[in-house]
C-alpha cells in the first residue's frame, strides 16, 4: 500500500479551554496542492504550525510517509514553513544570497561549492540572481515573495507550508504570483499546504480545498465539488455570492419536495436532500435553509403578454432594487414580494445590464437542481449573514 505523504489522525490542539484544532483526520498525497481556507481564527495557522512541528499537539498523530512525526523537532522534518509576516520572514540582516542559502548552510551537510552552485541555480530560477546582494527592505513585495520561495526551495524540503503567501501584495500581483507559485511547486513535485482566507484564491490554485471553521474540518474536497455541492451551510455561504433563504418543510410531490418560504412555495430536488443529509443529523425542527448562488438564478425582464407554463416551478416576479456594476459581471438586488428573503442577489453578464434599471420588473427562475439546502436552524443562517 502506498503511504499518504502526510497523514493526520485525531489531531487536537487546545489553548487553555479553547480548541484551536479539533478532531482532524486527513490524508494528503505526494505532490498535492492543498489550500487551507477559513475565516480569521479558524485554526489555519495553528494547523500549519502543528505540521511544521512548531506547536506540539494536545493529542493525535501526524505521519509523513508513514513515519510518526510527533517527537521530531521542526528542523528535522524537512519542511519549509513560510510564516505570515509582511516581509515573508526574510531575515532582515541577511541579503538575498544569505537568505537563499540559509538552509543548506545551517544543515551543514553539503560542501560549500555545492551550496554555491545550488544558490545560483535557484536564484536563476526565481530571476533574482542580479539582486543577490540586496537586503530584504530594498526589494519590492513580489521580489521578497520570490526570495522567500527561493529560500524554501534551497532547503530541498519536500513539503511547503505557506501561510498567506500573497497577503501583502496588491490585487493584480496576487493573481499573477499565485499561478507562478503554483506552477513552481508543482514542477518540483512538492506537497504544498497554502493557507488563505480568500475563497477565490483557494478555488483558483487548489488541487483540494480544506475548509475549516472554529477548529473543525468543514469540508475537504476538490474546488468544483465544494463550490457546487457544499456539505454544510458554512461552506455554501463561504464561496461566491450566496442567497440564503429561510423556509419550512411543506409536502412531497412527484417532481420533488416542496418547501414554504414566506408566501411562496419552492420545489427542491430530492437528490440534493440526500446529499445534504449525508452528514447532518435530522433536525427535529421544520426549519430549512436554502442556499442559492447568485449566478444560478435565471433572470429575464418581465414581459406581460407571455403566459407562464403550468409545469414550470420556482418562478418569481420581482423588482430590481439596486444594480452593481462589477466589471465583467454585474449584480442585481431583486426584491420579491412575499418571499422570506428581502432581496435576492442575481449575477448577470454586464453586457445585459442595460436591460435592468432600478425599478424594472423581472422574472426570476431558480432551477431546483441549483438549490442546496440544509436542515439547520434559521439562527445559523442569520448569524452567517450578520458577520
Amino acid at each position: 500500500m502506498v503511504k499518504a505523504h502526510i497523514e493526520i489522525q485525531d489531531l487536537n490542539k487546545r489553548f487553555g479551554k479553547l480548541y484551536a484544532i479539533q478532531d482532524f483526520n486527513l490524508e494528503v498525497e505526494r505532490g498535492e496542492y492543498v489550500v487551507i481556507l477559513g475565516p480569521t481564527g479558524a485554526g489555519k495557522t495553528t494547523l500549519l504550525k502543528l505540521i511544521a512541528g512548531l506547536v506540539k499537539p494536545t493529542s493525535g498523530k501526524i505521519y509523513k510517509n508513514g513515519e510518526l512525526l510527533n517527537n521530531i523537532p521542526p528542523e528535522r522534518r524537512n519542511m519549509a514553513y513560510l510564516p505570515q509576516t509582511s516581509d515573508y520572514s526574510l531575515f532582515p540582516y541577511m541579503d538575498v544570497w544569505e537568505n537563499t542559502v540559509f538552509s543548506p548552510k545551517m544543515k551543514g551537510d553539503k560542501p560549500w561549492e555545492e551550496i554555491i552552485a545550488l544558490g545560483d541555480e535557484i536564484l536563476d530560477l526565481v530571476n533574482l540572481r542580479t539582486r543577490y546582494n540586496a537586503y530584504p527592505h530594498e526589494l519590492s513585495g513580489g521580489m521578497m515573495q520570490r526570495v522567500a520561495l527561493a529560500r524554501a526551495m534551497a532547503a530541498d524540503a519536500d513539503i511547503f507550508l505557506l501561510d498567506e503567501p500573497l497577503r501583502a501584495l496588491d490585487a493584480r500581483l496576487r493573481i499573477r504570483l499565485r499561478t507562478e507559485i503554483r506552477k513552481l511547486v508543482s514542477d518540483l513535485e512538492k506537497t504544498t499546504f497554502h493557507v488563505t482566507h480568500d475563497q477565490e484564491e483557494a478555488i483558483a490554485v487548489a488541487d483540494r480545498v480544506l475548509v475549516i471553521n472554529e477548529g473543525k474540518i468543514v469540508q475537504f474536497d476538490i474546488p468544483e465539488e465544494i463550490y457546487d455541492y457544499p456539505s454544510t451551510l458554512f461552506a455554501a455561504y463561504f464561496f461566491g455570492t450566496t442567497n440564503l433563504v429561510l423556509a419550512t418543510r411543506a409536502r412531497n410531490e412527484n417532481n420533488g419536495e416542496v418547501v414554504q418560504a414566506g408566501e411562496h412555495e419552492i420545489t427542491i430536488k430530492p437528490k440534493d436532500i440526500i446529499r445534504s443529509f449525508d452528514k447532518q443529523e435530522s433536525h427535529s425542527d421544520e426549519e430549512i435553509v436554502l442556499a442559492v448562488k447568485a449566478e444560478k438564478i435565471l433572470v429575464t425582464p418581465l414581459i406581460r403578454t407571455k403566459p407562464e407554463s403550468q409545469f414550470k416551478v420556482n418562478i418569481f416576479e420581482g423588482t430590481v432594487e439596486q444594480a452593481f456594476f462589477l466589471g465583467k459581471w454585474a449584480n442585481l438586488a431583486v426584491q420579491v414580494e412575499g418571499l422570506s428573503k428581502k432581496e435576492l442577489h442575481v449575477s448577470i453578464p454586464s453586457s445585459d445590464l442595460h436591460q435592468y434599471n432600478v425599478g424594472t420588473k423581472v422574472r426570476l427562475e431558480i432551477p431546483s437542481e441549483n438549490i442546496n439546502y440544509f436542515f439547520e436552524p434559521w439562527e445559523v443562517a442569520k448569524r452567517l449573514e450578520m458577520t
Partner: protein, 574 residues
Amino acid sequence: MALIPSSHQQQLKQFQTRFIEYVSKPSVSYTWYFFIILFFFTLVLFPTIFVLIYAVLEFVIIQSEVLSNPTIMSEILEALMYSIAVSVTITIVDLIFGLPIAWILVRKEFRFKSILNSIIELPLAVPTAGLGFSVALFWGVTPNVPVKPFFALNFVRDALPILILFHFTTTFPYVIRSLAAILDEIDITLEIAARTCGASKFTAARTVTLPLFRSGVATAMVLSLAKSLSDTGGAMTVLATIGSLKQTSTVLIGNWKGDYQHAIAAGKEPLGYLLPGMAFASVLMICIALCLVFLAKILAKQAKLPFRRVFPSIEWRISEGTAPQARSILSFGFLVFFVLIPSFFLVLYIFQGISIEKLLTADWFLFSQSILLSVIVATVATLVNVCLGVPMAILITRKNHPFSRILDALVDIPYVVPSAALGFSVGLFWTTQIIFPPNELFFVIMAHISMTFPFIVRNTIGGLAELDPAYEDAARSLGARPIQAFHHVTLPVVKFSIIAGAIMSFTRSIGETGATLAVSPESITAPVFIVALITGAEPDYFFAALTTVILILISSLLIFVLRAKVTKKGKRKA
C-alpha cells in the same frame, strides 16, 4: 565568496557541527535551562530576600535587642520616615515634570532635540556618591567645604529638601527615558484622529493618549520609587557635605554595617543591637518597597483622572500660539537647571580647586586600587549577567509555559529591593552558608550580580518582544537548530537590547555604594572610596570629585566603545 576550506578550517567546522548537535539534544537544553532557573532562585533571588528568613528565625534576638530598645527603634523609624517621605515626594515630582518633558522629546520637533536626547542620559553615568556631593555643592549650605565654587546657590540647609533635590537629579533621567520609550510606541494616528474630530492638541493628548499610557506611568513610578529608596552613597555624601546628621534608612544600614565590621576587625564583640537592627531595618525596607511599588502599580491603573470632562476654551488656548513654545523652553530650562547643572557642578569645583600640591599629596595607591576593584566587580557581574540573563529572557518570552509568567514577575524583585537591604541580605546569606569559602570580593560580586540581573533580563525581554517569533519559526523549519536560529536570526536583532542592558548593568554596578558597603565595608570600590573621602574625619572633597570624574570617564568610554562596535556591525539594519 568561494573560499576553499583548508584542513584547519574543516576541523573547526567539524567541531562546530558537533557542538551544535550536542547542545541541541533535548537533555542538554533542559539541563541548561534548569541550571539557569536554579541559578536564579538560589543565587539571585534567595540571597536577596534571605534577610526575611533570618528575621523569622532570629526573631527572639530582634525582639530583645531592637523592638524593646526605644532609642534604636526611634533611630530606625526616623530613618525610614525620611526614606519614605523622600521617595514618595520624588515620585510625584518626577511624574508631574516628566510627562510634559517626555512628551516634548517624543512628539515635538525642535532644534536642540537630538542634543537634549543625548545629554539627558549623561547624569546616569555619574556615580551617585559623586553626584550627591555635586548636588549638595550646588544647592546646599556647605560649612566644611573650604573653596566654594562661584555659582553655587548655597541656600539649602535642611536634610529633607536637599535629599529631594538630589534624588530628583538621579531619578529624573530614568523616568524621562522610560516614559519617552513607551510614549514612542503609542500610535500617534489615534491622536490625529481625535484632532480631526475637533479636539485641541492638548485635549487629544490628555483624553486619548494618556489613558493608553497608564502602564508607562506605572513603570516610571516604580523606577523612581525603587531608585530613590535604594540610593545609599549619594545620600551619605549629600548629608555629609551639608553637615547634617540625619540618616535615611539605607545610610543607617551602611553606617551600622561599618560599625559592626570595625568592631570585628578590632577584635571586639560588636554591639548587640547592630546585626538584628540591620536585619530589622532591611526587612522593613523590603516590605515598604514592595508595598509602595504595588501601590504605585494599582494607582496608575485605577486612578480616575478627569479623562471624560473636556474644557475646550482653556485647552485650545494652551494648545495654540506661543503657549507650546513657552512650554518647550520652560521644560528645557528646567531640565538644565535641576538636573544637568547640579550633576556636573563638581567639574567646576575641580577646576577651581586644582593645585599641584593636592595632586601630589593624594593617596594614589588607594585611588587606583579602588578604581580597579570597581571595574573588576562591574565587569564580572555584567558578563555573568549577560551569559545567564539572556537565556532567562528567552525562557520568559519564548517558552510558552505557565512557569514563565511567575519568573517574569520574580525577576523584578532584586530591582525593587533597596540595594543596601539587598547587600545586607546577600552578605548575610553568604556568611551563613557553608559550601563556599568566605571571600569578600566574591560576595561583593554576587551582590552586584543579584542587583543588576533584572537590567539585562528586562532589556533582553524588550528586544525579544519586538522580534516576531515567526522569524525563528521559519529558521527552525528551514533546518536551523535552536542555537543556530538564535545565533543567526535572533541575536542580530536583540544584541542592541542586550548591549543596552549591559551598559545599564555596568554603570549601575560601577556607581553602587550601598550594596557594596552592606556586604563588606572592607571592599573599597571607587564609590565607597568617594564616600569615605567625603564622610571621613578630614574630608578630601577635591580628590573625591576627581575620582568621580575619572569614574565617569571610564563609564563613558565603555559606553562609547560598545555603541561604536554595535553600530559598525549593525549598519545593515533594515
